[in-house]
């Protein structure tokens, strides 16, 4: 039955050859090794984070009065809560590691050099976005660790010469770390950063398809 539906769609869109040849069966260049997997693993972790993240918004409330209780509730009262939150937690941690390994590989193999400089730049931007994801997501459970980590983090940003104070104030939404901070961190974490990341990822992937994978010398 699925075959029929597939053929029905393909008869109209004529995508079969393209998907088969250019995506699923696309040959990879010689000399590719396991180190080339880290970009893909990072993307896989991003998908897991997106899936678990979407579903956690069903329960999460970004308010100082309810954030901690809602997280506690979804973790210990809702079936699969521990798994969903656990996958989000560990995927986030692993993503920092795999994105680092991916960057190290690109750096060591010199894959960032001409003509792939733009892809390196989008990659560095994606890396910054991942760190921003980590920083904003850390506050959301609104426990002691979250509160003090964000206080320290935003204070460090406050030490940037000249503009630091303003960055810190804008980040916290005022001089106090409180309801305003939590609400804007939540907005950043679930709306702004994901959209920015998806846009950059599309560019990142289209460019690697266009330019091909850089093989080691």
């Amino acid at each position: 039955m699925f075959k029929h539906i597939y053929y029905w769609i393909d008869e109209r869109l004529n995508m079969h050859d393209y998907i088969k040849k250019d995506i699923l069966d696309k040959p990879i260049p010689k000399g590719i090794n396991l180190a080339y997997c880290f970009g893909g693993i990072t993307f896989f972790l991003f998908l897991m984070l997106a899936a678990t993240g979407f579903f956690m918004t069903i329960y999460y409330i970004p308010s100082p009065a309810q954030a901690y209780d809602s997280v506690d509730y979804m973790t210990y009262n809702i079936p699969m809560g521990r798994i969903v939150r656990g996958v989000h937690h560990w995927s986030a941690n692993l993503m920092i590691i795999t994105i680092f390994l991916h960057m190290i590989r690109v750096f060591i193999y010199g894959a960032y050099k001409k003509p792939r400089e733009i892809n390196w730049i989008t990659g560095v931007m994606l890396f910054s976005l991942v760190l921003a994801f980590g920083f904003t997501g850390y506050l959301l459970p609104w426990d002691q660790k979250a509160y003090w980590a964000t206080l320290v983090g935003s204070s460090i940003l406050g030490t940037v010469p000249v503009i630091g104070e303003y960055i810190s104030l804008i980040l916290r939404g005022g001089s106090e770390l409180g309801a305003l901070t939590l609400a804007r961190f939540y907005a950043l974490h679930v709306i702004f950063l994901p959209i920015a990341t998806v846009c950059l990822l599309i560019g990142h992937f289209l460019m690697i398809r266009r330019q091909g994978i850089s093989t080691p010398l």
């Binding site: 069903i58 009262n77 809702i78």
Partner: protein, 168 residues
């Protein structure tokens, strides 16, 4: 059987890839779906709350006004509720009737002379069992489950959410 070993390996890898991604997708979907459904089918737990025996009048004295206090759970929120009920004792049984009018939720009052419940809002009238006599109420007043256990008078919280709110 296949003469082309290259093709054989290719097929094997293809099946392997589909099997692994299929397993991951299926496992994630099941877990996430269960998580999303959550406790939607969970019925609210009914508890028994104790009321002071002195607030319960005997049948001959008519209904006594009793405020029933209990904690209601709404996900991660706990709310302290106060509901008014009319309670009296008859031959070893305790009758507890919600004070919430079934029309629009106003608090009904017990008229001892006429032996009826009267709603001040739209003149709904109920008899001493809570059955509608006249007026707009579409259903009888809620009867709370009660029991007497070891001299204690207990009321079930099950039907308490339906009206008679005195929390403000």
């Amino acid at each position: 059987m296949d003469k082309d070993p290259e093709l054989n390996r290719r097929k094997f890898m293809e099946i392997g890839i589909y099997a692994i991604s299929g397993t991951i997708a299926a496992a994630s979907s099941v877990a996430l779906a269960r998580f999303a459904v959550g406790l939607s089918f969970e019925k609210g737990k009914s508890e028994w709350i104790e009321i002071a025996p002195e607030s319960v009048k005997n049948e001959s004295e008519g209904f006594g006004r009793v405020i029933l206090e209990y904690e209601s759970k709404d996900g991660w929120l706990t709310k302290r509720e106060r509901k008014l009920a009319y309670v009296k004792k008859t031959k070893g049984e305790v009758i507890a009737i919600s004070a919430g009018c079934t029309h629009l939720g106003c608090i009904v009052s017990w008229d001892e002379d006429q032996k009826i419940f009267k709603c001040p809002c739209h003149d709904g009238r109920y008899d001493a069992d809570g059955k509608v006599i006249s007026g707009p109420p579409p259903a009888p007043l809620k009867r709370h489950k009660t029991k007497i256990e070891g001299g204690k008078i207990l009321v079930a919280t099950e039907t308490l959410p339906y009206g008679g709110d005195k929390s403000v």
